[in-house]
Point group: D2
Chain length 363, copies 4
C-alpha cells in the first residue's frame, strides 16, 4: 500500500501542503490509552521551525481529533487527526509547475502523476505531511511510555559539527524532551545554530545526522527475515522526506572493524542477559535483545536554496535557470527529530501488537 | 508477513541451515520469462565462498525448480526453488544451544522461539537462507535485463581498503559479472583479499561496504511516502544477515554538504531530462528520476570468530566463555554482493509490476 | 490491516456514528480521473433512507473532499472524504451502554474494546460508516465507467417478494441508476415497500437479497488462489454491516444441479469467446472470463426493532429485557445497494490497477 | 499477494497438478506446537477420493516436512510441506491445451498467462493444490485443539439430498472425524453416495453444500470492517476451487425472516453471556460472540463430465465440441470438507495470533 504502513497498528497519511487540510489515520492502536491533547500540541511545536532559524510558516497547526477518542481515551477504532492548512501562499509556487526545483520531487512527480498532482509547496511530497505522523506518533509515544519504553533523538551532526554521543540515555532523553533544538552539548548546539544562520545568510542550506535511542524495549521482538526490526524501521524512516541513509548500532563504522571488536560480549547483570557494548544497536538477527535500540538517520540539506540553479522545464524539455523565492528553511534536521521519534514509536507499537496482541498497549 | 515480501511480485523464504532443505517461492512474476538454469547456477556460485578465502562448505547448492516453470519459461504461477542441505555437520554446533555466540542471533532466537528453534548452524537465521533469494533473484535479474535494466554491486570497502567508485557503470557491471571477488580495482582487490586472509590467520573477521548501481530503470516508479523506493529497497536489504546500514546516493556524506552542492542540477541531454550529478542516487521524493539508482550497504564483520569471547549461558543465566570451532568465513562481504543484487532485482520487479501491471516484465 | 482494504488501490474507513465526523481515504487511484461532486451527492442520496419508508436522520451528509483532488481531477495522491455528523441525538442511546441490543455488536464490541469504544448509535460499527465507502465508491465508479465498466444492483428479494432477474443488463443498470428503491419490476417494488411499512407498523424489520451485475469488465483479471475475484470481492462485501451471505453466479443453487447443467458452454460470438449461459457469474478459476460478473448478497433484517427483547446487561452479567426507542429503519436493503455498488467498484479498481498498472484507470 | 494469505500466520501455496511437486509454506505459527505426522496423513487421506465413488488417482500423497519442525515440534519459523507428484498421466490432457473445458479455468488462464501456464490436469488451478492446504491445516487444527477449539464440517446437501443439521456439535464433530464420507445421518449418506454413483454412470457430476461448525472459539476476535471474521474467512474459502457461495449463520435464509425472528436473544448461562439461538453464526459486527461459528459453503458440480460439450478453441477462436476422457470425480464435495476445515483452521490461527500475540497458540 502506498500511504499506509503497519500491519496490526497502521498509519495512513493524506493531504497536500496547500490543500484544505492534511492529516493521518492511526488504526489498530489498543483501546484505553490516554490521549493528552497538550502533549500532542507539544510534539507539534517541536516539528515547527525554531523562530530564530527560519522564516516560519505562521500557522498554528492545531490538531483536530475527528474520530477514535472518547472521554480522553483511545477507543480501539481508527483515530483521525486533521490539521487544516491556513497560511497557504500558493502564489509563491505557481510559476514553478513546469520547472523542476533541483533536489525536489517536481520532476519525478510529473513522471508519476502526469501533471495532475498538486504541486503547490511540494503538495503531497511536502515535509508538511509529517505533521500527521507527529500527531499520531504522540499517541504511540504515550502508549509506549506506559510500558516503560522511551524514545529520544538528538542532532548527532549538523553542518560538520558533532554533538556528544548518548551517555546516560534515560537522562539524555529527559534533557532532549525539553529542547527545541535537540543537541546535548550546549556549546555544539550554539555552533550548529550559527552554522545554520550562516548558510541562510548565503541563501544556502545544511543537512545533518539524527541519532535515536529507544530504551525499555523488550527482547524477542522482530523477525529474522523481511520483518527484521531494522527492515520495518528503515522502511518507515526512509519515508520521511530528505532521509538518505539509516544505520543501526555502529552501522557503516562496523565495516572497518574486526569481528573481535564488533561483537558485543554477553554478560549477566542483575540476573538479566545484557551486552557489555552495543555495537549492534540492540538488534541481533532482526530481533531485539533488550538493550537500547540505537540508529542514525542521514538528512540531506534542504533542497530549497536561494542561489541560482541550472534546471529544466520538463514539459518543454528545455534547459533553464531558477532562483527560488519565498519561505524556506535553511535546515530541517532539528525539525525532523520529532518526526523520527514519531515514526519510530508507530513502528514499535505495531511490532509489540503483533508480538503480544492487540490489548498489550491498552488500558 | 514474516518471511514473505513484496506486493505484486513477492518472495517467501524457508528453511534452516542444517534441515532437509532450504528454498524460496517467487510469486507474481510475469509469465513468459526465460529461466536459464545455467545462469541460476552461475549466481549460486557467486554466493559460495571463494575457495582461497575460507574453509568452504563443499556442497553443490544445486537448485531444483519444483513449480512454476514449463519448457524453460515462467508460467506466471509460483516458482519454487528447493536446495537440499547435504554437507551438514550439525555436531559442530550442538554444544552451543544454550550459549549465546556474540554477534549471532542465538539469544534473541531463544527469546522469540523459547528454545524450539532449530539452532544448528544458525538455523533459519543462517546466511545460507540467502541461497533461496539468489535463485529467485536470478529470474528477477533476467526479467529486468530483458527491459534493459541491469544491476551490479562491488565491494566498495573491506577491512579499511576502498575500491574505486563506479565510473562507466555499464562497463563496470560487465566487469563485475565476471568476477568472483567483486572489486573493480585489481590492486585493491588483492589487498582486500590479503586483509581477509590476515584476519583469518588471527581467528578474526572483517566487514565491508557494498555499492550497488541499477541502470536503465524507468523514471516515475516509487511512492512519496511509505513505499518510497528507498523504503521498499532498504526494508528488503536489511533482511540480509549482517547488514547494519543502507544509504542512497551520497547518503551520510550529504549531511556535511550544503544544499548548493547536494542538489543535482537538471539538464536536457539528447532530448531527455537528466541530472548533471547524482548525489541523490536516482531517487527524488521516493520516486525514480531515470538516472542510475545508487546505494551502499554496510556489512558487519562475520560474527563467527575463533578467539575466546565472553558470553552467557542464557538458560542458566550464567557468565561463561566461548571459543568457536568449525567452518566459518573470515568475511562475507564478497558473498553478500550477489545477495544484494538479487534482493534489489526482486524489489524492483515488484515495483515495476505495481506500476505497469503484471504483464510488463513478461514474454 | 483492520480498516484498510486493497493493495494498489486501497480504502481506509474512519469515524463513529455520533462522533465529530466520519470519512474515508482513497489511496492509489490513478491521476486524471474527473471527480464530479454532483455524482458523489447523487450516490450519497441513494444511501439515505427513502423518506416514505423510515424516520429519516435528517442530516445532509455533505461530503467534503479534503485532499487528493485539484481542479476537478484526481491527483494520484490520497483522496480524503470527510462527512461531519450533525444530527446526533446521542441521548437516545446512552442507557444502552451496558445492555446488549440483540443482533447488534454491543456485546462483541465490549469483548474487544473493553468498554472504551464509542457506543453511541453503534459507533464505529454503525452502517453510517458506509457513507465514506459510498463517497469513495463514486470516484471508483466514474473511473470504471470511463473504461466502459458499469455496475448495477437491484433488490432481488425483500420480505419474501422477488424482483425479476436481470435481463438486458445494460438497460437494467440504466433503469436502476434512476431509482431510489432499486427494484426492476414496478409492481414488486410497490409490494416490497408495503411489506416494509407493514413490518414497521408492527415495530419489526425485514431483510433482503441484493443482486449485482458488472458489465464490460475485461477477461483475465483475478487469481487462481487467495486473490480470486470471488475472494477479494466477498472479503470487502462481508464488511458491509448486516451482510451474512455472498454467492457468485448461481451460487447455492449450483449445488442442486448436475455438471452438465452447471457448466457454461463456450461459443464464439462476433469473433470473441463468450459463454452461452452464465451460471458461473463471469468468474472461472478466480479469474474473469469477460462475461458479466454476477453475485448476490444476503442482508439480514435490521436488528433494531421495537418489540420487547430478552437480553443481558453484560457488565453485571444479568438477564434483562430491552425495548428500543428512537430512530430506526425497518429495512436497510434498499440503502445497502449503493454500498454494494461502491464496494464492488473499489475492489475492481484495485484489481485492474494490479493487473494493468497504476495509470490504467487514469486521465 | 497472490498465493499467500494471512497476516501474522500466513500460508503460501505452490505447485501444479502434473509438475514435480506441490506444497505449502506455513509461516508465523507459534513455536512449540506438536506436529503429528500420523494426523497429517489422516487428514490427507480424507482429501483423497472415497474409492467406491471415483476412479482414484493412486498416489500416496506423502507429505514431506522440509523445514520448520524439529524433534516433533514447530520451531516458529516457516514450515514447508512438500508433496511429490507421481501418478501424473499428463498425456490425458495434452490435446486440451487450446480447447476450453467448460466450467474449468483453461480459457481464463490463457487470458491471464498468455499460454505459458502449465495446463496439464488444471496445473496450478487444480484441486490437487489443496493438498498443501490440508497438510498445513493439520498443524493449525492441532494448535487450535490444544486451546479447546474444534472444527467440523459435514455434507449438508448433495445432489438434492439433505443431511440433518448439527445437533450436539461436540459429539457431531467427533462423529465426523471418523467418517470418510462426512454425513451425520447414515441413511442420507447412503442416498447421497448412490446419487453420486448414478451421476457417474451417466458421465455427469453433482455438487453440494458443506456446513462447518467451530466450537470453543473465544469472544472478541475479529474486526468491525474489512477484517470482519466473515470477510477473512470467506476470502480464504472462496479460494478453494468450485466454491461459489458462503453464508454465515442462517445466511440467505435470514433475508426472508423478520428482525424479531432473526435476532438472537442474549441470556446468562452459568455466569456467561450466551445467545438462545444462533442465527448469526456466532459473529456480530464481524467479531466472535463466543457461540459456535457456523457457516455453509456452496460447491458447484465437478466441471469434468463425460458428455459431449460445446466449447471453443480459444487460440483459433473457433467453435468446437469436446468429450473428456480420463480420470475424474463425479463429485468433490466429500473431498472438499477437509479442505474447508483446514482453511478455516488456518484463518482462525491467524486471527488468534493477531488478537493475542504470536505465542498464544504455542507450547
Amino acid at each position: 500500500m502506498k500511504n499506509t504502513y503497519g500491519e496490526s497498528v497502521s498509519i495512513t497519511l493524506f493531504g497536500e501542503s496547500h490543500g484544505k487540510a492534511i492529516g493521518a489515520v492511526l488504526d489498530g492502536i489498543a483501546p484505553g490509552i490516554p490521549v493528552n491533547e497538550d502533549f500532542i500540541a507539544t510534539q507539534m511545536n517541536k516539528r515547527q521551525s525554531v523562530s530564530s532559524l527560519s522564516t516560519p510558516r505562521k500557522e498554528a497547526d492545531r490538531v483536530q481529533i475527528v474520530s477514535g477518542v472518547v472521554n480522553g481515551y483511545t477507543t480501539g477504532t481508527p483515530i483521525t487527526f486533521l490539521i487544516e492548512n491556513m497560511d497557504t501562499k500558493s502564489s509563491d509556487y505557481n510559476q514553478l509547475s513546469e520547472i523542476a526545483r533541483p533536489g525536489h520531487a517536481d520532476y519525478t512527480a510529473y513522471c508519476k502523476y502526469h501533471g495532475y498532482a498538486d504541486t503547490r509547496g511540494g503538495g503531497h511530497f511536502s515535509g508538511r505531511i509529517t505533521a500527521g505522523l507527529v500527531a499520531a506518533g504522540a499517541v504511540a509515544l504515550t502508549a509506549l511510555a506506559r510500558k516503560g519504553i522511551r524514545i529520544g533523538t538528538h542532532i548527532s551532526a549538523c553542518a560538520g559539527i558533532s554533538d556528544r554521543p548518548f551517555e546516560d540515555i534515560t537522562k539524555d532523553i529527559d534533557t532532549l524532551s525539553a529542547l527545541s533544538f535537540a543537541v546535548l552539548d550546549k556549546e555544539k548546539s550554539a555552533r550548529m545554530q550559527e552554522a545554520i544562520l550562516s548558510a541562510r545568510s548565503e541563501g544556502d542550506s545544511v543537512g545533518g545526522i539524527l541519532e535515536t535511542a529507544v530504551i525499555g524495549f523488550p527482547e524477542g521482538v522482530g523477525e529474522p527475515w523481511f520483518d527484521s526490526l531494522e527492515g520495518v524501521l528503515s522502511h518507515a524512516i526512509f519515508s520521511v522526506p530528505a532521509v538518505k541513509g539509516v544505520e543501526f548500532g555502529d552501522g557503516f563504522a562496523l565495516c572497518g572493524m574486526r569481528g573481535s571488536t564488533a561483537n558485543d560480549a554477553f554478560a549477566i547483570k542483575n540476573g538479566e542477559v545484557v551486552t557489555s557494548t552495543n555495537h549492534c544497536g540492540g538488534i541481533l538477527g532482526g530481533i531485539s535483545n533488550g538493550m537500547p535500540i540505537l540508529f542514525r538517520t542521514a538528512i540531506k540539506p534542504t533542497p530549497s536554496i536561494f542561489k541560482e540553479q541550472n534546471t529544466v522545464n520538463f514539459k518543454n524539455k528545455e534547459d533553464t535557470v531558477l532562483t527560488l523565492k519565498g519561505r524556506h528553511d535553511p535546515a530541517i534536521v532539528h525539525r525532523a527529530r520529532v518526526v523520527i521519534d514519531s515514526v519510530t514509536a508507530l513502528v514499535l507499537c505495531d511490532q509489540l501488537a503483533l508480538r503480544f496482541g492487540t490489548d498489550y498497549l491498552g488500558g
